[in-house]
């Protein structure tokens, strides 16, 4: 990797990682606080349902998750926090993709594009179930 790209990578990767981590931590903490503010028994009820294998699969569309989060629904806020966290690898690979693109290294542009496509395929496979 050329010196300029290497410098960009070393400087910006930590910045990107920290920013996403802080955003995810803030959302997760907010969600936990919203959970604590719910009536007594709310969390225990959810946890017991998970233990019993009842409340696991809860596929929702994004518009309903965001609108529920705005209303203060703890599960939706936590889902957003966890999703931000999973964007960390996507962000890192996307950043690397643009660096290889800038460098004109076609083999590694293709390799990184394949990894990005794999991450997107993961979401699509998950939606199919």
């Amino acid at each position: 990797m050329a010196d300029e790209e290497d410098r960009i990578l070393r400087v910006w990767t930590p910045v990107i990682l920290r920013t996403i981590l802080i955003a995810a931590t803030a959302a997760l903490t907010g969600g936990m606080l919203a959970m604590a503010a719910q009536p007594s028994g709310y969390y225990i009820g959810r946890f017991r349902a998970v233990q019993a294998g009842i409340a696991i699969r809860q596929q929702q569309d994004w518009s309903s998750i965001v609108s529920a989060a705005v209303r203060g629904d703890p599960h939706s806020i936590l889902t957003i926090g966890l999703t931000i966290l999973t964007l960390v690898p996507l962000g890192r690979v996307a950043f690397t993709f643009f660096l290889f693109l800038k460098q004109g290294d076609i083999i590694f542009v293709l390799a990184t594009a394949y990894v990005l496509a794999g991450l997107v395929a993961g979401v699509m496979l998950g939606r199919i179930g």
Binding site: R10, T13, Q51, G53, L85, V88, P89, T96, L119
Partner: protein, 275 residues
């Protein structure tokens, strides 16, 4: 509520702390902890663990990338293999019976224990084999006197094959499969150990992220478990990485290996008894 949350936080902080000290990541401790101690189903533990592996990898990668130890070209080529395995594994995790997952997990823990015993590859290569040279996978590491020493890379096809297995295990079992990745890069591809560890750490996050996306999109992440675990393991890993320079890691390694073997026996027994 406080008792359950306190227990989950304590488990996650301990797993993150021990995972950072041992270099194995938190996943190998979180999954059995959640299954055996918190009595949650295996699939829930796998989903929560994948999320926490992403978090710990991101935290540790900051220093590795900044200091230049990560070989990004090796990481990206091998990620093609691990992501393929991880997405397939995470998809299958929803279909494979929990007892089979527990048995596979026990076997993976024994493998991690074996590779944690500390045997490492021979001297680093001075030049890459033709295929790795074509991909320009070699790099440089700082020597004892501060001068940069070039290193070569070999056996890309064998390394990539093992990475498909590592990805598959990561998606199926919710672990980073770091021990397997380091083994592939260290033993097979002959990368210097510290480069293998740093590159593996970078890859673990991407591999686990691929699996986590399948779980999240499918709605298989139990937020009431995954959120406190992700927060706790991040705090534990941060504390573990700060404590690392002040502890005798070699002395602790035997203890970690013993813990891994004990957990493997417990998980294996649960699986066999339930089949």
């Amino acid at each position: 509520m406080l008792r359950i949350l306190g227990g989950l936080f304590a488990l996650a902080i301990s797993a993150g702390f021990v995972g950072a000290l041992s270099g194995l990541g938190g996943g190998v401790f979180i999954v059995p902890g959640l299954v055996i101690l918190a009595h949650v189903p295996m699939q829930v533990a796998v989903g929560a663990s994948l999320i926490s592996v992403v978090a710990t990898s991101a935290g540790a990668s900051v220093a590795f990338v900044r200091d230049g130890w990560t070989n990004l070209r090796v990481a990206m080529i091998l990620e093609c293999a691990t992501v393929t395995g991880a997405v397939s594994g995470a998809y299958m995790a929803g279909l494979v019976p929990a007892r089979v997952l527990e048995l596979l997990f026990a076997l993976m823990m024994l493998q991690s224990a074996y590779f944690s015993m500390g045997r490492h590859g021979d001297e680093m290569l001075s030049r890459s084999d033709p295929l790795c040279a074509w991909f320009r996978l070699g790099g440089e590491v700082p020597g004892d006197d501060g001068t940069m020493t070039p290193y070569g890379v070999a056996n890309l096809p064998a390394g990539a094959t093992l990475m498909v297995v590592a990805g598959l295990m990561s998606g199926l079992l919710g672990i980073g499969a770091g021990a397997l990745k380091v083994a592939a890069m260290d033993y097979l591809m002959r990368l210097p150990l510290k480069v293998s560890s740093a590159t593996s750490n970078f890859m673990i996050g991407v591999t686990a992220g691929a699996g986590a996306m399948v779980f999240l999109a499918r709605g298989d992440i139990a937020t009431s478990v995954a959120a406190p675990v992700a927060l706790g393991v991040t705090a534990g890993a941060l504390a573990g990485s700060r404590a690392l320079p002040h502890v005798n890691v070699q002395a602790l390694r035997l203890l970690f290996v013993a813990i891994l073997v004990l957990i493997a026996i417990e998980m294996g027994w649960r699986a066999i008894a339930g089949l």
